[in-house]
């Protein structure tokens, strides 16, 4: 399983990387962590003509936590998030989701932005970005633009990047006070791709849900925002365990997804799990909101 030939570049500046990408067009690929890309190359499922290795570019590995939110540069590894106390303390949804990514060696090399750009439907990061209302910072020959997460994810393994563009950072805005978050995922073994998962945040004041966010993972097309579930929860009084409200939200989440059949799970099972995961993520979010 040796990859086919490709031209390899390791530019030292972002401009140079973008220029090479622009020249390569559809046949170029960015190599950051390589934990998703290299398996595909080794299996010859993908045969890009050009690899642009961005690991030598300065400034892409910034992890900034400011008033406005968290900015995660293109070369920030999953492991960097887990080792950063600011993420552990202030960004629980991101922290918990990152813990579920694969295994230590993969987390040491794999990048957050890489995972987001790759948009595997079973991956954790896309759903967290959507749930937190984050944005994707894109650079191309024409300059920079910033897209809301939901506009960035366009379908299974697809994104809104134009040829010659790459993700340079993602931004997560701060959640309002009184917000609790929960990330749960169901996989056959720890670290496997999620068969189904859910990312939830609940902003609760005086026992009433002011804002709800719920995104379902693993359904086959990318992160699915369960808007009808969110709407049903907003303004609702949540009891100690929110059982009834969450059961209802789970049903709505199940109705919102169009899960795929594959060798790991049938569509029916996925849909069922979507409901189970939604309930569990919401329960965790409520417990954490209460702790504030």
């Amino acid at each position: 399983m040796k990859p086919a030939w490709f031209d390899y570049y390791a530019p030292r500046s972002l401009d140079e990387a973008l220029r090479i990408l622009a020249d390569a067009g559809a046949n170029g690929r960015v190599l950051a962590g390589g934990q998703s890309l290299m398996p595909m190359l080794n299996c010859r499922l993908l045969n890009p003509d050009v690899l642009v290795d961005i690991n030598r570019i300065d400034g892409l590995n910034r992890l900034d936590d400011t008033q406005d939110g968290l900015t995660v540069g293109a070369l920030v590894r999953h492991a960097d998030l887990l080792h950063d106390h600011r993420v552990r303390e202030s960004w629980p949804l991101l922290f918990e989701a990152t813990k579920q990514v694969a295994h230590p060696a993969i987390r040491n090399r794999g990048t957050v932005c890489g995972s987001i750009a790759h948009n595997d439907p079973a991956a954790e990061h896309p759903s967290v970005l959507v749930t937190l209302g984050g944005t994707v910072v894109i650079a191309g020959a024409a300059g920079r633009r910033e897209l809301p997460a939901e506009q960035f994810f366009t379908g299974i393994l697809s994104n809104a990047l134009q040829p010659g563009e790459m993700v340079v950072a993602v931004r997560y805005p701060r959640s309002p006070a009184g917000t609790g978050a929960g990330f749960v995922e169901f996989a056959r073994r720890l670290g496997d791709f999620a068969i189904a998962g859910a990312a939830a945040t609940l902003t609760v004041r005086d026992g009433v849900c002011e804002r709800a966010r719920l995104t379902i993972v693993g359904m086959g097309q990318g992160p699915v925002r369960a808007r009808t579930a969110e709407d049903a929860l907003t303004g609702r009084r949540l009891g100690d365990e929110g059982d009834e409200a969450f059961a209802d939200a789970a049903e709505k989440a199940k109705a919102a997804v169009e899960p795929a059949d594959d060798v790991h799970a049938s569509a029916a099972y996925r849909r069922h799990l979507a409901g189970v995961m939604a309930k569990r993520a919401l329960a965790t979010a409520l417990a954490r909101a209460g702790a504030h």
Partner: protein, 788 residues
């Protein structure tokens, strides 16, 4: 380091740290892919993407023209030059399955090798393979045995009507009467999914032309070096001693590396043609389709019992999806015959009947994998017994106790014609139940309704016939039958004792085991004993490492040879020390009188024997090399009882094993730490079978589980801490040894399958398709629609 671990001054029974592990822990192993020879070429295979197709044409021109490519071989070039593999499935069926080394007119499974590309490096060979153009005419496919055996099904082999590669019916005792008169008959259907051994190191070979010998040297990741040599000689028309087969360090075998495959034989052919070393390493994508699969049984089984739950008769109908070819050497008979024939296990079965079929399909051929048909057979009967227990309201452990062959009844001939002797089935069950505190577990289970989790307890008892001698066939119709292996003991010129056997190790520490036995038999210090077990040039004939036989054969042959060698050493010692033979013994590599007044180190005796022989009477210096063939005649039964406790998440269907107790009888133990490792390793694979592992094909014969992200084997989180206990009794083989490599996987599949079914039964649910994936569990609970 080795001596410090001796127990009661004896090597056998001590957890001696094996010296053969040292290079492995230091990164200094020599696995197949580590072998590099000057000028060596690399092979990549172009494999069929069709499950069943006629090959109209193959155009290799572009591939041949790629710089770095040496030659591209197709089946056509081999025609007439080498004999394909012809496997007579069995004397129970008339069809022959012919397997060309490279597909000739047809491809019969996805992954079948079509062309061999030889290049200067592997990556270039793969580049070239992509440039080969094959014109296929797709043919209708057969993808399951039930439809495959119908008269209107497409044929995988024209020579095999109804796609039967093997079919057998068997009956003993009055089965119909037993079913008629029974107090209760329980009938169930089970499906056990397709598996593969998933050795962490996949297959591979380096075929060397005039490397290390003047003929062909074959380095091959394999379990049976002499068997490989035999077939190379036959198929390549070479003299056997022009062929040397060497097995490097091997990263797992489990039976998958015990078949004879086309790829390595193509490499041998190429090496002779090109007069260069040729290397092929099977990568993981290849391994998923090119190395033998296992299991994939559909089992209909019925048991008739009396009002006490005692078995009166067993009846089964088995279909095995054996893939596209009858595996070379073993034939398609292995899984079908063993699944049906060995189903009684350790239980008294007075009458039995079975019909079993190995049906060819357009999938990867099925070959032997750890315990072959026994796990599936055992799990089926155990699940059936639990159903009997529920209906008759007898405790499952009690029910099994009533049915296990007791020691008092041995030797006991079961309805499948196997004679059970020297094995502790019932003591193992009692021990397991005691250690797990079974009564308390059941009481807790009765009281509980735990927060969405269902608790289940599963019990499985197994019988495992190990160390088969010549009177017991591995399988009727198999091309070669094991049964006698040889070991050579030699006192070397420096006084070291060397052991040579063709019993290669894949981690079982066979070398250290034989050294431990030799140490006790001869009185030579363990550090003065070495062993070579992987090289046909250095070892006498041995069938190889397979079917849990090396402890019995290796040790038995060592014991036999040691007897004669000791006699010679003491005879010469008596002469050199001028004392009666009866006064002498050997302790710690020193020949000495019992009162220790006179002594002669073996080292000195060796030097005299080899280099100063002048004054030694020739009859006392016959050479200190003894080769002994050992045939234990019968097999040695190992046995055990496993009890698993699981928790089922009724929302997700996830199964967690919360407790696992195993009580085993593995005879006289040579190295307890090695044995423990074998048992736990087998349990881990059984847990994988029960919960995780499954090879899936779609209806066009395309494999859908093609990477390790699809085929799931247990990680450290899926295997609980195993509590292991022993109720050993010696076998009748020399030394009292038994094999322990395969028994535990049988117990594990049964125990976990029963535990899941038990958990589901708490809510009136059921499961009969395994592995018990979360989805099947939810179907079994009625949470999801469909059959489980």
């Amino acid at each position: 380091m080795s001596d410090a671990r001796f127990v009661n001054q004896k090597a056998v029974g001590s957890p001696v740290v094996p010296s053969e592990a040292i290079p492995l822990v230091e990164g200094d192993g020599r696995f197949l892919n580590d072998i590099r020879l000057p000028g060596m070429y690399h092979v990549a295979f172009l494999r069929s993407q069709h499950a069943h197709a006629r090959i109209r044409s193959i155009d290799t021109a572009k591939a041949c023209a790629l710089p770095g490519v040496i030659v591209v071989l197709t089946g056509r070039e081999l025609l007439g030059k080498v004999e394909p593999f012809r496997s007579m499935p069995n004397r129970f069926s008339g069809g022959e399955s012919v397997q060309h080394w490279l597909a000739l007119d047809k491809v019969r499974f996805c992954g079948e090798a079509v062309c061999a590309v030889v290049a200067e490096d592997r990556a270039t060979a793969e580049d070239a393979a992509e440039l080969i153009e094959v014109d296929y005419e797709p043919l209708p496919v057969v993808t399951d045995p039930r439809s495959g055996e119908r008269d209107d099904a497409p044929l995988v082999h024209d020579s095999c009507p109804n796609n039967y590669l093997i079919k057998r019916e068997y009956e003993r005792g009055n089965v119909d009467e037993a079913f008629r008169d029974a107090h209760l008959v329980v009938k169930r259907q089970f499906k056990i999914g397709r598996k593969q051994a998933l050795c962490l190191e996949s297959r591979g070979c380096v075929a060397g032309y005039r490397e290390s010998t003047f003929g062909l040297t074959m380095w091959i990741s394999h379990q049976l070096p002499y068997v490989v040599r035999h077939y190379l000689a036959r198929h390549l028309q070479l003299a056997e001693n022009d062929i040397r087969v060497v097995v490097p360090h091997t990263g797992g075998g489990f039976g998958q590396k015990a078949s004879i495959y086309p790829e390595e034989f193509v490499c041998a052919y190429l090496a002779l043609q090109l007069r260069r070393a040729v290397k092929w390493v099977e990568d993981r994508l290849e391994n998923m389709v090119a190395s033998t699969h296992a299991r994939d049984q559909s089992i209909e089984v019925a048991v008739a019992v009396d009002r006490d739950g005692q078995i009166l008769a067993l009846s089964s109908d088995v279909w095995v999806d054996v893939g596209a070819y009858s595996t070379y050497l073993w034939s398609a008979g292995m899984e079908p015959l063993q699944t049906a024939g060995l189903m009684p296990g350790p239980y008294k079965v007075p009458a039995m009947r079975y019909r079993t079929r190995g049906v060819a399909t357009n999938k990867t051929p099925v070959g032997p994998y750890r315990a072959v048909g026994r796990p599936s057979a055992s799990a089926s009967l155990e699940l059936l017994l639990d159903e009997v227990a529920r209906r008759l309201e007898i405790d499952p452990v009690e029910l099994r106790a009533r049915n296990l062959i007791p020691v008092e009844a041995m030797p006991y001939r079961n309805a499948n014609n196997l004679v059970h002797d020297n094995v502790n089935y019932l003591p193992c069950l009692k021990l397991a139940a005691a250690k797990v505190q079974y009564e308390r577990l059941r009481a807790e289970q009765r009281q509980n309704g735990v927060d969405g989790k269902l608790r289940g307890i599963g019990v499985a008892c197994y019988a495992e016939l190990t160390g088969l001698g010549t009177s017991t066939a591995v399988g009727p119709g198999t091309l070669l039958q094991p049964g006698r292996d040889a070991v050579t003991l030699r006192m070397e010129t420096t006084g070291v004792l060397s052991i040579a056997a063709a019993l290669p190790s894949q981690g079982q520490r066979i070398m250290t085991a034989m050294r431990q036995v030799a140490c006790d038999e001869l009185g030579i210090a363990l550090d003065d004993i070495t062993c070579v077990n992987n090289d046909t040039a250095m070892a006498p004939y041995g069938f190889g490492t397979f079917a849990s036989r090396t402890a019995v054969f290796g040790s038995g042959a060592v014991i036999q040879a040691a007897k004669e060698l000791r006699r010679r050493i003491l005879a010469l010692g008596a002469h050199l020390l001028d004392v009666p033979v009866g006064d002498l013994t050997i302790v710690n590599s020193v020949v000495q009188t019992l009162d220790r007044s006179k002594s002669l180190p073996i080292r000195d005796m060796a030097e005299k024997s080899y280099f100063s022989a002048k004054n030694i009477p020739p009859e006392l210096n016959p050479g200190f090399e003894v080769t002994s063939f050992y045939d234990p005649k019968f097999g040695s039964f190992a046995g055990g009882a496993h009890i698993a406790v699981v928790e089922v998440d009724a929302q997700t269907g996830e199964v967690t094993i919360v407790r696992y107790v195993a009580a085993e009888d593995v005879g006289t133990i040579i190295n307890p730490a090695v044995v423990e490792g074998q048992i736990i390793g087998g349990i881990a694979q059984g847990i994988g079978e029960a919960l995780l592992e499954e090879l899936v094909y779609d209806e066009t014969g395309q494999p859908r589980t093609v990477t390790l992200a699809d085929y799931l084997v247990p990680s450290a989180l899926e295997i609980p801490r195993i509590e292991l206990h022993h109720a050993n009794t010696p076998s009748a083989a020399l030394g009292g040894f038994k094999g322990c490599g395969e028994g535990s996987i049988i117990g594990a599949l049964g125990a976990v399958a029963c535990a899941v079914a038990d958990a589901l039964s708490r809510q009136g649910g059921d499961i009969h398709d395994f592995p018990a994936t979360p989805e099947r569990v939810l179907k079994g609970l009625g949470v999801l629609a469909g059959e489980a």
